[in-house]
């Protein structure tokens, strides 16, 4: 693993002293939100860029991951002199509520001293955004220079822009959507069922046993991982090549490289992610439909926004295909807002927004100004 030059970051916790009211009707008493900052907030507090992370992401954008030791998930994009330039901007990323990386989630202790487990209330993308707003309030930031998010991060960015229109002046959405499609929900349901079918899940009460539903979570991750790639990408990377053997074994070992790769991806995921968090966060994504929240018309969601928008899709992304970004673009146009949209060509499928796509760097840098 290539080590990146250490970029000074601050990892902090915000402990809310009041309950977070949730879309589901419940509230979360005094939740904790973990966040990372990088760069310097100027005196006017107008140079902040907030990054929203994806499903299994976290707030370690540039700092090394505390469990895996790998560099932050977006060091390619964020840092001094990078497209999101921490010499100029104060970059913030907060771990979503429901997660297991520092913010309050199902693995956290509830007020009765036991882990929440499945007693944790079901949350929505908008609930995650309320947590982000709490961080902005705590930092005294009235209005962001820009809000940036890919995949589930893009959903949060759209939700924040729609529900808290005065809090950001620009919104950059990568490989995302304004609603989860039937296909998106279907893949998530496969993942959740895999977790819940694992006897070690124990209705979510596995924390005391020292071992969670690792098999189930691993299968969930394997299925999801396929949706993040493209057929061409898989063919190029693995083809039908065999794993460390000359011939097929006529058994059910991981004969093919792709099998071995997926098993590794699934297994290593269980080292860093909580199965219940996976259930809750995928549920939040499935419930996401920004138009539904605003009378069924997506353009209405942006009626009070005055921000600039930029949407980017990738031609090989079949999880959140270009048509989804177009739908958002047309709604923003109908709302009379300045909007840019481009479909970039990249071979990596949905994951393209995290990988080496020089055209993306230029768009991000240009849009942020």
């Amino acid at each position: 693993m290539a080590t990146s030059p250490t970029i000074p970051t601050e990892n902090r916790f915000l402990d809310l002293d009041m309950p977070l009211m949730l879309d589901g009707g419940q509230s979360l008493a005094c939740p904790r939100i973990a966040y990372e900052t990088c760069g310097t907030l100027n005196a006017a507090k107008d140079n902040a860029i907030f990054i929203c992370h994806a499903l299994t992401g976290d707030h370690h954008v540039v700092s090394d991951h505390p469990k895996t030791g790998k560099p932050g998930w977006w060091v390619r994009m964020v840092g001094p002199g990078k497209p999101i330039d921490t010499d100029r901007y104060f970059v913030i990323c907060a771990n979503v509520i429901g997660s297991c990386m520092g913010s309050t989630g199902p693995a956290s202790l509830s007020p009765d001293g036991e882990p929440w487990g499945m007693r944790f209330p079901v949350i929505t993308i908008r609930d995650m955004v309320k947590g982000h707003i709490a961080v902005l309030d705590a930092l005294g930031i009235d209005s962001l220079h820009a809000l940036v998010g890919g995949s589930m991060g893009g959903m949060q960015a759209l939700s924040l822009a729609a529900n808290f229109p005065e809090r950001t002046r620009a919104v950059l959405v990568l490989a995302s959507t304004a609603r989860h499609s039937a296909q998106n929900i279907a893949f998530h349901e496969v993942g959740r069922q895999a977790i819940m079918a694992d006897p070690a899940w124990r209705d979510g009460n596995y924390y005391a046993f020292g071992k969670g539903p690792e098999k189930g979570l691993s299968v969930a991750r394997m299925a999801a991982h396929i949706t993040y790639l493209s057929e061409a990408g898989l063919t190029e990377k693995f083809g039908r090549r065999l794993q460390n053997r000359e011939e097929k074994t006529f058994g059910f070992d991981a004969d093919f490289q792709i099998e071995s790769y997926l098993r590794y991806q699934g297994l290593s995921f269980t080292d860093r992610f909580d199965a219940n968090s996976y259930l809750y966060i995928t549920r939040a994504m499935d419930y996401f439909d920004l138009a539904e929240e605003h009378g069924g018309l997506l353009a209405n969601a942006f009626a009070k926004s005055k921000a600039r928008y930029c949407l980017v899709s990738f031609d090989t992304d079949w999880l959140y295909p270009t048509a989804e970004s177009r739908t958002v673009t047309h709604a923003l146009n109908a709302a009379g807002l300045p909007v840019s949209f481009v479909e970039l060509s990249a071979p990596y499928g949905h994951d393209s927004f995290l990988l080496d796509v020089p055209a993306l760097d230029r768009v991000v840098e240009g849009f942020l100004g």
């Binding site: 600039r308 930029c310 673009t329 047309h330 146009n333 109908a334 009379g336 300045p338 909007v339 840019s340 949209f341 481009v342 479909e343 970039l344 060509s345 055209a359 230029r362 768009v363 840098e365 240009g366 849009f367 100004g369």
Partner: protein, 203 residues
Amino acid sequence: MNAAHAASLRPDLAVIAENVSPGSSVLDVGCGDGTLMQALQAGQGCATRGMEIDAANVGACVARGLSVIQGDADKDLAFYPDKSVDYAILSQTLQTTMRPDKVLDELLRIGRKAFVSFPNFAHWRVRVSLMWNGRMPVTRLLPVGWYETPNIHHLTINDFRALVKERGITVEGRWFLSGDQNCSAAAANFRAEHAVFLLSRGN
């Protein structure tokens, strides 16, 4: 438009830039790399937005800080609200669309006024080439062979005049260019390499 900005633009774009009211809102359909949009923003203080079919061009526009969406004039204009800009601009793009007449309708629905520029297929060089060689012309303004040209609906200035008359569209201004020289309306269909029209639906 100050002279420095206008001078660096392609002649038809310079005509458009000189005749857009300062501070107006503009949609540039087929905006390319955003040259006209940037000139209108910097020189005229216009609020600009663009549409462009080529991803690399859109990327270049966004990198310049312009608001441009990747889209196709034949399909994606439908998503713009009525009278949402002062000017809809279509420069050197009409002849590349599937249905130029419908695109024209869309421009005049979205814009209070529309600028349209196009190469004149009845220019004398084109006529001479056809007459003497019997081949589809390849000229300075039509530099690509028939089989790979994006220009699928060649038209002449007189064709365009007939279309706007038939559709009851008001011509508020027209400019005929040979190189960067103006030529008269009377001789335009023979002498002009390209034309710029400013159109409206009247009242």
